[in-house]
């Protein structure tokens, strides 16, 4: 027989505003097994926890029910309180009367009734709780960072700084990500390469960091502290440890017509290439889609010119298996496709470009060596129209773009407009906007400089249509403040395309069993209090894979993710989850059904000797659960035809008791 204490929290007015907490406490006091029931303003506060501790001592409580916020919020807090007062932490159950009651129901009578029922269900469950002891698992002291952009780079550097080995997996031939493609960075106008490339070199030179470039994660198994990851190292047909990065092959390769993805297809590269001069690792890669030797077996020029002998046409994809304790996702973003926005004539005119293409056009290492020239005829543009929010902040009903604000566009457009006016004062620059959003340190000052010092024409309103006419682009737009239609003859139109998570994020989330939101951004464990952790233990989030972010935010989140990883890797052992499956050997008939449904392979069979009632012994095959491997989903409990399998903490009887209490 349990001796249960019930503690109802007011949560200020969050709960008490809708729920009559005194009535809840009084009603639950009459439930079976309850020997003490009270209510207090803030149960999670020190004073509230002391009430629980004192009651445990005074009433010799064996079980606790806290009627408060979600167990996702404070279950751990109250389990610790119970443990500190000497009872098993798994004897605590939470009735969620805030998120799932007082916050969603306005009516005091029905709210109070529901709170009482939820409390009764929790009491019914605790009556059947048993003390549980978690097992311990060792921690592999190595971290994996998926994605080698500024987010991944910063996370890896910070983890390595603390002395733990880190591997970076990057699908492209070089690390650097989007930031490597940028020219200047707002609001300080630092040159992106000047601040990024030293970090890339730091990564390359750090003996704690290994870079798996041109590689992808293909499978993730295991759990926090013990992930087994398979990494596919795509064949680059160049021996990474032999290539010196001299670039002779990239100059002699006869296949010259390969669109250069680093410059977003605005110029060409060779079939063997190094993406950019500061690439890390600085190693050539052969593009198998274009290399004549790989496609037809006739060429071999790069092999002839390579003095180091690094070319290997027979290379195959390799699979590497590694163990990690923690995984950081830093898969970043991409601008959305402009296919659905043909009113801006992106597909019809080469002079309608996206902001990232504009970035390459103004970059000294870009296709025009930093001269702002029209992609169509190489002439200097005199009138430039920037269109903001292309695909951002779209109506949820239209299937064209994204509902969210992409966050970085206002600032980079201000930067582009300012830099254009600075370098070419003879150009007229128009920016069409819905709102200009500049919340950030020195952001608004930056935007105002663009308007006030550099004379950029900011016009509130949207561009309706862009139509190419001869060498010009006719821009039809509305000026909402002046209340009139505008027709501008532009030479260049720049679209601030919305950003979306990288396409690789969705399959990766499935592999990691990490949850995503409807836009494919990774979900954080708590939007405010645990912003860099995914709800899946041991998986952390860094950078724009979690939501649109600028560079300063990305770097700070990367550091935060690293701190969380370090905190995990510092531990020698992790306490596991004691809510695991358990088989009743007397009932098990060894049918293997549970083994087949277990996603973790946690169930094995052993032949065991049993004494029969007639004193003979019989050998039977029975299921055994490996508690270190079982994650406690409970799938086997339902599959088991003999009812031998049960889940500790969520036992069949406990859930039945909850059902009964609710339906009473």
């Amino acid at each position: 027989m349990q001796r249960i204490g019930v503690f109802v929290c007011h949560c200020g007015t969050n709960i008490a505003g809708t729920v009559d907490v005194a009535a809840v406490s009084e009603s639950l006091g009459k439930e079976q097994g309850v020997v003490f029931s009270t209510h207090y303003q803030y149960m999670c506060s020190q004073a509230g926890q002391d009430i629980i501790k004192n009651a445990i001592a005074e009433y010799k409580l064996t079980g606790i029910v806290v009627c408060s916020c979600s167990p996702r919020m404070h279950e751990t807090t109250f389990r610790k309180t119970a443990a500190a007062a000497g009872i098993n932490p798994y004897m605590v159950e939470i009735a969620n009367i805030r998120e799932q009651c007082s916050w969603v129901h306005k009516d005091t009578i029905s709210g109070t009734e529901k709170a009482i029922i939820l409390g009764k269900a929790a009491v019914a469950k605790v009556n059947l709780n048993a003390p549980l002891t978690p097992g311990e698992t060792p921690v592999t002291k190595r971290a994996l960072v998926i994605g080698g952009g500024i987010a991944g780079i910063q996370t890896a550097l910070d983890i390595a700084d603390a002395g733990f080995p880190v591997d970076i997996v990057e699908k492209k031939p070089t690390i650097g990500g989007k930031m490597a493609q940028l020219d200047k960075t707002f609001p300080t106008l630092d040159c992106a390469a000047c601040i990024l490339t030293p970090k890339m070199v730091d990564v390359a030179q750090n003996d704690k960091i290994r870079i798996f470039s041109y590689s992808e994660v293909t499978s993730v198994k295991g759990f926090v502290g013990n992930f087994d990851v398979t990494i596919k190292r795509k064949a680059r047909y160049v021996k990474e440890d032999v290539c010196t990065g001299c670039g002779a092959c990239t100059e002699k390769c006869p296949q010259k017509k390969v669109p250069n993805e680093f410059n977003l297809g605005m110029d060409n590269r060779r079939a063997i290439y190094i993406p950019f001069a500061q690439a890390v690792p600085k190693v050539a890669t052969i593009d198998p889609d274009y290399c004549m030797m790989l496609k037809t077996g006739k060429c071999g020029v790069c092999s002839k010119v390579c003095t180091a002998g690094a070319i290997d046409y027979k290379a195959k994809d390799e699979y590497v298996e590694e163990k990690y304790g923690a995984i950081v996702v830093a898969t970043g973003f991409n601008p959305i496709s402009m296919d659905k926005f043909d009113e801006f004539a992106y597909s019809q005119s080469k002079d309608v470009i996206t902001s990232l293409e504009f970035e390459r056009l103004t970059n000294a290492a870009g296709p025009t060596q930093g001269k702002l020239l029209r992609p169509s005829d190489g002439e200097h543009p005199h009138t430039i129209v920037f269109v903001q929010c292309v695909g951002s902040r779209c109506d949820s009903c239209s299937e064209k773009g994204k509902e969210y604000c992409s966050k970085i566009c206002c600032m980079y457009t201000a930067k582009h407009a300012m830099l254009t006016r600075d370098k070419y004062p003879d150009t007229d620059v128009y920016v069409f906007y819905i709102d200009v959003r500049t919340p950030g340190k020195n952001f608004d000052e930056f935007y105002r400089r663009a308007v006030e010092e550099y004379g950029v024409h900011y016009i509130k309103g949207m561009v309706g249509k862009v139509s190419p006419e001869g060498k010009k682009l006719m821009v039809q737009a509305s000026d909402l403040i002046a209340g009139k239609q505008l027709h501008i003859e532009a030479d260049l139109v720049v679209l601030a395309a919305a950003i979306e998570p990288d396409k690789s994020a969705r399959p990766l989330a499935t592999m990691l069993t990490a949850s995503m939101d409807t836009n494919d951004f990774f979900t954080e464990a708590h939007p405010k209090l645990r912003p860099v952790e995914s709800p899946t233990a041991g998986v952390f989030l860094s950078g724009a894979c979690q939501g649109p972010k600028d560079i300063p935010e990305t770097v700070s989140q990367a550091g935060a993710a690293a701190a969380k990883v370090i905190g995990l890797l510092c531990k020698d052992k992790l306490t596991g989850n004691p809510c695991v499956a358990h088989s009743d050997e007397m009932m098990c008939n060894g049918c293997s059904t549970c083994e087949k449904v277990c996603p973790y392979g946690a169930i094995t069979y052993v032949d065991k000797e049993f004494r029969m009632p007639d004193r003979t012994t019989r050998v039977r095959r029975v299921a055994q659960v490996n508690e270190a491997v079982c994650q406690g989903c409970g799938c086997c409990t339902v599959a088991c035809p003999s009812g031998a399998m049960d889940l500790k903490g969520f036992a069949g009887k406990q859930i039945m008791a909850e059902v009964d209490a609710i339906c009473r």
Partner: protein
Amino acid sequence: MSMKNIENNNETYRPLIVAFCCNWCSYAGADLAGNNRLAYPADVKIIRVPCSCRVNPTFILRAFQRGADGVIICGCHPGDCHYTSGNYYTRRRMSLMFSMLDYLGIERERTRVEWVSAAEGAKFAATMNDFCETVAKLGKNKRLEDLRCKQ
């Protein structure tokens, strides 16, 4: 039929709805609905389970036996299960279970499986509003109720 009409005419009638929510997606989605103060009827009582595949069909039978008017099971979207494949089992098990209940005379509308992610607070509230309304229209469920279970 006559029983239903009587129930529906009674304005104080509210359905009793048991919702099983998986810990990782739907329970978090319900919390998010709470954070965003998205209202749904208090008739819904949520039971937390680690995964939707933990829901034994006998729990559903028990709920109906004890007088529940509707049972809804919420899990992660297919492909997003925290335990990789649990919701696929739920989907198959429940389609069998629900057709059996249908055969026994429990209307198909009284049972439902929905996928609600941790980010879909609005979907959770909308689903519960819709389910409550549907079940309320059907009226009290007496088909499986076992009066011996009632105290």
